[in-house]
Symmetry: C2
Subunit: 361 residues, 2 copies
């Protein structure tokens, strides 16, 4: 086998090698049962055990209060963009959305198909480099909920604070930030996260929803998109994505072994600090985001001359530093440094960036 690469992909993203090895070891025969997890009925004692443990481990990691349901769903965050208004926005109601970039805008666009959407604040005035402070927000008193995107995977903008919305439920797309550090779930009405960054493989989306928000689905909501139906059936109204659920469970176990989210938060703090400090001190690399609003997980950066992009990427590839090309809408580079991208990977990237700057700076 060749060496495992350092993988800075924004998602589907790197997974911990220990988790992949465990999955590999039991892929044909889970715990001596003679079959793969993929080949088990989702109603079997074995799989229900796997599913229940995964949920409990996630509850432990995030200290999820008991009046919240944890749902293991499909369709990614993009399906949640519809599922949220279909469940929470009454036919003649209104929802507040905060625009901080590409993913917020997608959520806004889809919600607008189901009711009135008030964009209560937008980072557009700041070229999406700064998050508008809450003092600038124009929240509606009668909003069904407030939606925001705590981390913009493409722009590299992240909230270091949780908005205050009083009695109005706060809804957050945490796809690329969940599990990166401790979180006070009780501040939210609903949290959702596509798995393919910090949770597991793609094809799974985790939704954490306060129980009082269940049972409000519109009549046009497909049964499969009704949170209450999912909650009442333990996310098994139909066959769930069993393999992805199992792999997510292995990730949760691994996170607990690492010391939980306090420990991960400390590591992630160091990783991003190193990278931003290096970029800020460099004469070749720049990151445009306001210091207080910089993402811990997705770090876009540019080279002083676009002509250097190709040689930079080629040299990175040759050193096993993969998937550093930025999103086409932003250009430049992006290093996604999720939980499974360890400090050694960041150090290897920094060594290469320094070497490249010495040659081309």
């Amino acid at each position: 086998m060749s060496k495992r690469a350092y993988n800075f992909c924004a998602g589907p993203a790197a997974l911990p090698e220990a988790v992949l090895k465990k999955a590999q070891a039991e892929l044909l025969d889970w715990q001596g049962k003679g079959l793969s997890v993929m080949e088990m009925s989702h109603r079997s004692d074995e799989f229900v055990g796997i599913a229940t443990k995964a949920e409990q481990d996630l509850r432990d990691l995030l200290s999820i209060p008991s009046d919240y349901k944890v749902l293991f769903l499909q369709g990614g965050a993009s399906q949640q963009f519809a599922q949220i208004p279909l469940n929470l926005l009454p036919e003649n109601g209104k929802a507040d959305y905060i625009d901080t970039g590409i993913w917020s805008k997608k959520a806004i666009e889809e919600a607008g198909r189901y009711g009135r959407v008030n964009v209560a604040a937008s980072a557009k005035a700041y070229d999406y480099f700064t998050i508008p402070g809450q003092n600038e927000w124009k929240l509606s008193a009668d909003a069904a909920y407030v939606h925001y995107t705590p981390n913009e995977t493409i722009g590299g903008l992240e909230f270091g604070w949780i908005p205050e919305t009083g009695d109005v439920p706060l809804v957050a797309d945490m796809s690329s930030t969940i599990l990166s550090r401790p979180l006070d779930v009780s501040r939210f009405g609903l949290i959702y996260a596509g798995a393919q960054k910090n949770i597991g493989p793609s094809g799974l989306v985790v939704t954490i929803v306060r129980e009082d928000l269940l049972g409000r689905a519109r009549s046009i909501c497909p049964t499969m998109l009704d949170y209450k139906v999912a909650a009442d059936n333990g996310s098994m109204y139909n066959t769930p994505p069993t393999l992805a659920w199992y792999l997510a469970g292995l990730i949760f176990e691994w996170l607990k072994e690492q010391g939980g989210l306090e420990a991960m938060g400390a590591i992630n703090q160091r990783k991003q600090q190193k990278l931003y400090d290096f970029i800020d001190a460099s004469g070749l690399y720049t990151n445009p985001i306001a210091k207080n609003d910089r993402s811990w997980m997705n770090i876009p950066f540019r080279l002083a001359d676009e002509k250097l992009d190709k040689p930079f990427l080629a040299g990175a590839d040759a050193r096993g530093l993969l998937n550093l090309k930025g999103h086409r809408s932003v250009g430049g580079m992006r290093a996604s440094i999720y939980n499974a991208v360890d400090e050694a990977a960041v150090d290897a990237l920094l060594a290469y960036m320094a070497e490249f700057e010495k040659e081309h700076g």
Copy 2:
């Protein structure tokens, strides 16, 4: 490692050992790239290559005409139950449905939430043991489509023929029969199949749709559920379930290596014939389904005395013959003998059934 069991689960079901071994070998490092398929961007050349080959192999296996799109979606057949009327049933339109059992009824119930549903025929009059012939059907001339369930996974009822619906598009839930034998796709407007029987792991549903049926989605249809959006984006409007797609591709490769659907059909014909012949000749076991309407894939059977169910299942488990318990709504036993359940597994089951009959008959 312990021996691999014979797995008769109705789904998620057995997968070919050769496929699992291949997936296992490359789980940490796909083709020397230093990362798992799970860790690749869905937009990378590598994954696009995997996805394209999987689709082409499926097209080859089923001889899918070029004016059909093949979509790799999420949410299982249950989500398709809503997605079909949301895409194909105009607000004031009508759809014909054929009721042959539990899965048909679920499809009917969900479609009824989006418009008028005419149950054009029902097997209820035959206690769901016989499929009503098309001469008994009351199809509507103005139906947007006709929906049926070619194989009822729970009841064990299967169509040996394709309904004739003229210009009205025929829509089929092929979850538990697809790829079990050759199929004339050109007879259908839309075919869908949850992966977790003959295609791969759960969390993936394949939809094959004639192009002229795209672009009719209702305004209330979530973007993620619009077939045209999926088709226009090569099933990558958002991140698809990449691992499941890759595993499905390995299954398609394996099916081609076995000689394709002609060869699989011949094997499956023999497997089911052996099992039904044995049951019919036995004094202990019975199957209630009309001979022409018996499923090749899901074979429910009862023992003469319910008290024998427990010892039968215990003895089966002890011999590594797993998941023979019938669905709770039907009772008794069920042997699901999909493509990955080979003739040796059926022979082992028959040997045990004979042994058990000798002891308890």
